[in-house]
Amino acid sequence: MAAESVSDRLVGLLTVRGEDLGAEWSDKVAGSLGGRVSRAEVQRELKEIYTALVAALAEGGMDGRGEAFGEVRALLTELSRNRAHQGFTPTETAVSVFALKEVLEPALSGDDSDLQAYLKFSTLLDTLGLFTMEVYTRTREELISAQAEQLLELSTPVVKLWDGVIGVPLVGTLDSARTMVVMEKMLQALIDTGSEQAIIDITGVPAVDTEVAQHLLKTVVAARLMGAECTISGIRPQIAQTIVALGINFGDIVTKATLADALRHALRRSGLTLSRTAPQAGAR
């Protein structure tokens, strides 16, 4: 019976001045978000939560993880996810829940039953605040791994350099996951563009160890199976010396110091010759 009277007392406290408390809560939260969410939007969000909270308390629940608070948690989940997506900090997100404590405090009469009720309410809001943080963290993690995947896609563009010649500029570390993406994209581009020459440029790869070398070799072999030839370009002096010391043998794969050299080579292999003509008079 005790728990029931506490929640009844809380329902009383929260409904008697319901409008005022709700408005004050919205003001506090909107203020803490520094205008990055409109006051009207905050009011709408919090009014729904406020209503659901009072309803859950009226049902007699005091357990934030209990069934009665299902609706409250669903609304808090939406709020946390929104805040995480909008780039708010964990504190700015949790404040939405904790600010309600401050708002309720001045409404207390000071008698024992109010104090009892406030302590229980405080515990309940702590539970709901933690729940909000869990959802926030999970959302951020989802965002980060989605971005990592996007970056993987972004950082491996395949470009058409000439009719029949595609280029794959690699930047950063080549691990197994990225090599898969690179290989797939390159083989697809060979088909899509009807190219028979591919240039893999490793100017942006900081170090070539045996794993990277193995990945490169596999990519070249796969291209050959499709009737295409690969040239590896952008082998800087420090990379060349390291490859030699490691003992890696690129076999009959053509390697070039610069992308320009590789392009000239690829064009020649596809039957094109470049010749320099004397500059015309007046041309710059």
Partner: protein, 137 residues
């Protein structure tokens, strides 16, 4: 007595991210030691090989790295340590192209050529410790 200097730091290598971190840590050390770009790249590549061996063959372990000074020379010393299966035949493992798995079999022998000092201690069934040092020119 083959540990790195007192200011050395230890890094866990228990996943691929550990190998990436090892490379970054070694790059910072090599730059602190004012290695040339070639020397830096060689040491980072050796560290990459040894860290991956620690992870793949040793089942995970640690890299301890730091700056060392000896007889007026400055250098970087790295210790790769694991409690894995150990290496039963060291000579075979150090043979160019020999691998017990699906690698190129050049990591151990190649990294030996990329550094100035290379010490391999291993006890079958107990683990492997590889200590490498590279001096600034």
């Amino acid at each position: 007595m083959n540990g790195a200097s007192s200011a050395s730091q230890t890094l866990e290598i228990t996943a691929n991210a550990g190998v990436v971190q090892a490379r970054q840590r070694v790059r910072a050390l090599a730059q602190q030691c004012r290695f040339s770009l070639v020397e830096q790249t060689k040491l980072i590549t050796a560290a990459s090989e040894l860290a991956r061996n620690t992870l793949i063959h040793g089942g995970g372990g640690t890299m301890t790295g730091g700056l060392v000074e000896e007889r007026g020379r400055r250098g970087v010393r790295l210790v790769f340590d694991d409690r894995g299966p150990g290496i039963p035949d060291v000579d075979l493992a150090l043979t160019d192209g020999w691998t017990s798995g699906a690698g190129m079999g050049l990591g151990l022998s190649g990294s030996k050529r990329l550094v100035d000092e290379f010490l391999l201690e291993t006890v079958p069934g107990q683990g492997t410790t590889v200590t490498v040092t590279k001096w600034a020119r």
